[in-house]
Symmetry: C2
Subunit: 347 residues, 2 copies
């Protein structure tokens, strides 16, 4: 009999809905490649309510729901006013909880509590939320180990582009000295459009029109999104937990059209770079700031909304990975890749 993992979805927004869609559409193809099947046995969402079926919920029906439907029509319950999901997460008949709600960038909640409850209940967790990782990764990894389960979060940095697992797996033993990254697609898109002659405001509006930028683009262009990702990478790549105040952060708002055109004239590129490096004594320094890169720099030509990380290593020198940093399908794949890693670790 093929091995199976029961999955509980916490949050049914774009990301978990797309994960459900992949499981529904590609489940048997994936089972052949991966050696296990996936069954969604529980879902909770603030709009739709709660649906639990240990034999597997009817994903086709779930995916056909319209925005004002609830799970009542499928035998579930309406959204519970003021519920904190604790009972749902602790009791869901699931091996793995896919956490894809939202994070308060200061506290990491409610995602942080969701992860704790799941791990305490002996369920592995995959999440795309930066908050729990940036603020409590060591605690949560220890909690997972104590409960013989796993805490995986590839999607916290570059959606499904495997930057965390590249560093901890294939690049193990390489002598990591630091990293520099383009970790926010919106700001990279805006800088690229400014090189094409747009004002920053016009570029922001265009990014909003294309859905790259939020209505309030502050976290993207102000650098705080990148700062959280630098904190996550510092812990996973360099083994050091940094606090927000350890990462001086400057966004791209001070970059003027004149600065951009001067750079273009010299064949250079302004990029918003999040970086951290470890000195010979093991001290880590980190920052987020715009940097003027020569055309030969591995991050200089990263276009549009693409993200990239350059690892600075002892044995290989610079090694760079680039790929998408956001997107519905790309982020859902991050959760799938976490589930694959959970299987590999626990098998």
């Amino acid at each position: 009999m093929t091995k199976n993992y029961n999955i509980a979805l916490v949050g049914l927004g774009n990301v978990n809905r797309t994960l459900a869609d992949i499981i529904q559409a590609k489940g048997s193809e994936l089972a052949e490649e991966l050696g296990f099947t996936l069954r969604v046995t529980a879902i909770t969402d603030w709009r739709f309510g709660t649906l639990v079926d240990p034999a597997g919920v009817d994903l086709a029906a779930v995916l056909a729901m319209r925005p004002d439907d609830t799970f009542v029509a499928l035998g579930g319950t309406v959204p519970a006013e003021g519920s904190d999901n604790e009972e749902f997460i602790r009791t869901a008949p699931a091996d793995i909880v896919a956490e894809a709600t939202f994070t308060n960038p200061v506290t990491g909640e409610p995602a942080l509590s969701h992860v704790r409850w799941a791990l305490e209940a002996g369920k592995s967790v995959c999440t795309t939320n930066k908050g729990p990782v940036a603020f409590a990764v060591d605690e949560l990894k220890a909690l997972a180990a104590d409960n013989a389960v796993r805490f995986e979060f590839e999607g916290a940095v570059m959606s499904g582009t495997p930057v965390i697992r590249l560093a901890s797996g294939p690049l193990k033993g390489v002598g990591m000295k630091g990293f520099s990254g383009i970790l926010n697609g919106t700001s990279n898109y805006i800088l690229g459009r400014m090189e094409a002659g747009l004002s920053q405001l016009a570029a922001i509006e265009e990014a909003q029109d294309y859905g790259y930028a939020e209505a309030d683009p502050t976290a993207d262009i102000g650098g705080s999104d990148v700062r959280l990702k630098v904190m996550v990478l510092a812990s996973q790549v360099l083994g050091v937990e940094l606090a927000s105040e350890d990462v001086p952060t400057e966004g791209i708002t001070a970059i003027t059209p004149q600065m951009i055109s001067d750079a273009v004239g010299q064949g250079k590129h302004w990029k918003l770079i999040g970086q951290a490096s470890k000195d010979a004594d093991g001290r880590v320094t980190a920052q987020v700031a715009p940097q003027l890169l020569d055309a030969s720099h591995p991050l200089a030509a990263i276009p549009g909304a693409t993200n990239a990380v350059m690892f600075d290593t002892e044995y290989l020198g610079p090694v760079t990975i680039s790929g998408p940093g956001a997107g519905r399908i790309e982020t859902a794949y991050a959760l799938l890749s976490d589930i694959i890693a959970i299987d590999a670790a626990l098998a």
Copy 2:
């Protein structure tokens, strides 16, 4: 007690000598990170002879040897005229054989036999040789599985830059549709220098002066080196074993200064691309040929002797990794990363 692996070095050229150097200089630091120690217990080389000590050979003395020394001074034997290394490999007191001799590009020998003997004798193998992988990877992997050991060969494609293990590990389940790569640093260096105004001949001579190009650069600029790497990647990334004749191959010799300057004028770049892709029916087509890339292509800006592979994936679109494709330390790290993977798989 810390876990230990005994290592036999087959060939003591630049690569295995550097691996020995890393073990000698960084062994205890690595043990702390990796959880195991490494001990070189046997070495054979056509110049130096054979040295075996189950308690560990004196690496400092080995690394201090001069080109006309032999292992006799260290208690070993002189090079055996006409020996094929079979007895050495089968009987060496080692858990892992590090194979770094040379490969006949048509037969894969003698590396191929070296790998077979080691696996048959129940020893895991790491190698930087393309030949055994390009010509017999499925047979050798099956042989390793039959003997409960591992066959690892990250260095066969981009030295230590982890392209094989990125595809098989962190990118598992991503829906691999194909790949395109800059897989030969010498030819990429030459094309870059031609963009700076050199003739192809002058660029080749410069590459030879810097040690990038062999005295006979045919395999580099004619594309046959890239063809072997495309065969390795096709098997490991797309799961299809190709024969040499399945990969139509054209090098860079027909690229003229006029073609280069026309491209530069349009903001484009000529690159030698090795690629393979799988269609909806699972049929794989592959080729090696110069291609004219737009500036926005992820491989267009890869400079100098750097290598890169762009994976074309279902869930993430293009994902690109770039890094060194050659070099003494870079290739020795490939062997170390193989040993780390062997430990992870067998632990």
